[in-house]
Amino acid sequence: MRKELIVAAVIVTMAVGVVVGGPAIGEKAPAFSVTDINGKTHALSDYKGKLVVLEWTNYGCPFVKKHYSSQNMQKLQKKYTGKDVVWLTVCSSAKGKGGWMTAENWQKRVKDNGTASTAVLLDTDGKAGKAYGARTTPHMFVVGSDGKLIYKGAIDDDRSGDPKKAATAKNYVAAALDAALAGKKIAEPSTNPYGCSVKY
């Protein structure tokens, strides 16, 4: 006769070493201090009182290319830095991984494609990326003038890689910035990001 097997509670915890969490909307945005492609260091605290956009990037990723080849990203960068918004483009690719480039190559590529952000930060050790829970390229965050996170997620609602869609998609970042600049509530403060994985 088969005995009824009685099993005591078994707890198994999977060993996954590193965690990507990131702050919730309304929480204090994590501090960081990262060097840009020209060797200048930028800390979040340098921009107290301003709206700060963090744009995770990897120029080799087709979803990033979608927004750069269509000029969508450069237009947003120009428009909002023109409204006193600080726009930091961040690459968290580890050295040797996809999207990683030397500072010299970054300088050249940024000039070639007309990147118009305030600065391009090289977060090679991934500390800033992991503090924010950056998962994709692009992955967008907006920090309010009070230092709290007010938007995180996708750049827009078209999850394809088609550059032609960038102009017509609903742009969540523009909507968040327009609302914040007008002192209004952000309708969609958290969306699911899309793109290539960040190459930590």
């Binding site: 005591a8 078994v10 996954v16 990507v20 290319k65 999207g99 394809s160 899309y194």
Partner: protein, 297 residues
């Protein structure tokens, strides 16, 4: 079966029922670490289980995606990153095509990120329903545009325009021996409803717990080795360690809730993939999970 992967644009015919279309990949512009992305190409073919169409009788078609070694494509929920394949059908008059049937995925850990998808090969099946009014001697030509992302260290978007032409005949169609195996194998990887399994979701401040009540004949070790894949992104944090506990046939899987991850009354939905030893007579390998939110904690 040997598969040949060609670099760059190509177009090749596979004869009769299946037409292998040219894939064009979006090129990476040269960067420091992009070379690998420019060397690969995955391919897709639109295939049918049967050689002909019988008016009024539904049949299975599928997009067979073959991937180069070490590369993967994605499930309907790609996980932390990636893109689910998209298919735009162009069915002829008199034929409708149902939703894609997604085989259960596997998990790709690239700490701290996790994605869900397939490696080597995947068949995304759909049911084609021909009208009863189709006349014998006609040819049914189904077309589709497919876009899928393949990733390894880098990611490349693949696009293909595919076409499949089948003759209409009065008789019961013969199966196409070339694709019979892959259709049969794939059917076994489709998640199934099984009313003997019961699921609930318990919501905590920082956690979401999937509560599973398994049928009596389920070996307990099956439960602790099963893997849950949510249908929706942005709810549970896939990369965060998960704790599991089981007691008898009851099992709970505690997952970290994503910051701002909300779940409605419908609770967690997804697929629970059981380990190999769970498969066997009449047992599903992957279960569809609909776990309504339970009150209280």
């Amino acid at each position: 079966m040997t598969r040949v992967y060609k670099t760059g644009r190509f177009a090749a015919g596979l004869a009769a029922a299946a037409l292998l279309a040219g894939c064009s990949s979006e090129r990476s512009t040269p960067g420091d670490v992009q070379a690998s992305a420019r060397e690969v190409s995955s391919r897709a073919a639109l295939v049918s289980r049967v050689k002909s169409v019988q008016p009024g009788q539904p049949f299975l078609v599928g997009i067979l995606i073959s991937l180069p070694e070490g590369w993967h494509t994605y499930w309907s929920n790609p996980g932390d990153a990636g893109m689910a394949p998209t298919v735009t059908w162009r069915p002829p008059e008199g034929v409708t095509i149902g939703p894609l049937m997604w085989p259960y995925p596997q998990r790709f850990d690239d700490p701290p990120l996790v994605s869900f998808g397939y490696e080597k090969e995947v068949l995304l099946m759909a049911e084609a329903k021909p009208s009863a009014d189709l006349g014998a001697g006609q040819t049914v030509t189904v077309g589709c545009d497919v876009s899928w992302l393949i990733c390894k260290d880098a990611c490349v978007i693949q696009n293909a325009t595919l076409e499949l032409a089948l003759p209409v005949g009065g008789a019961v169609p013969e199966t196409d021996g070339r694709w019979q195996d892959v259709f049969s194998r794939t059917e076994k990887t489709l998640p199934q409803h099984d009313a003997r399994w019961q699921f609930r979701t318990r919501s905590g401040d920082e956690t979401l717990t999937l509560l599973v009540a398994a049928p009596d004949d389920t070996p307990p070790e099956v439960l602790v080795k099963s893997v849950f894949f949510p249908f929706e992104g942005g709810i549970v944090d896939f990369g965060t360690p998960v704790s599991r506990s089981s007691s008898g046939r009851r099992y709970s899987l505690v997952m970290a809730r994503e910051a701002d991850g909300e779940v409605g009354d419908e609770g967690l939905t997804g697929v629970l993939v059981l380990p190999k030893e769970a498969s066997g007579k009449g047992r599903a390998r992957a279960l569809i999970v609909r776990a309504p939110l339970s009150g209280g904690t």
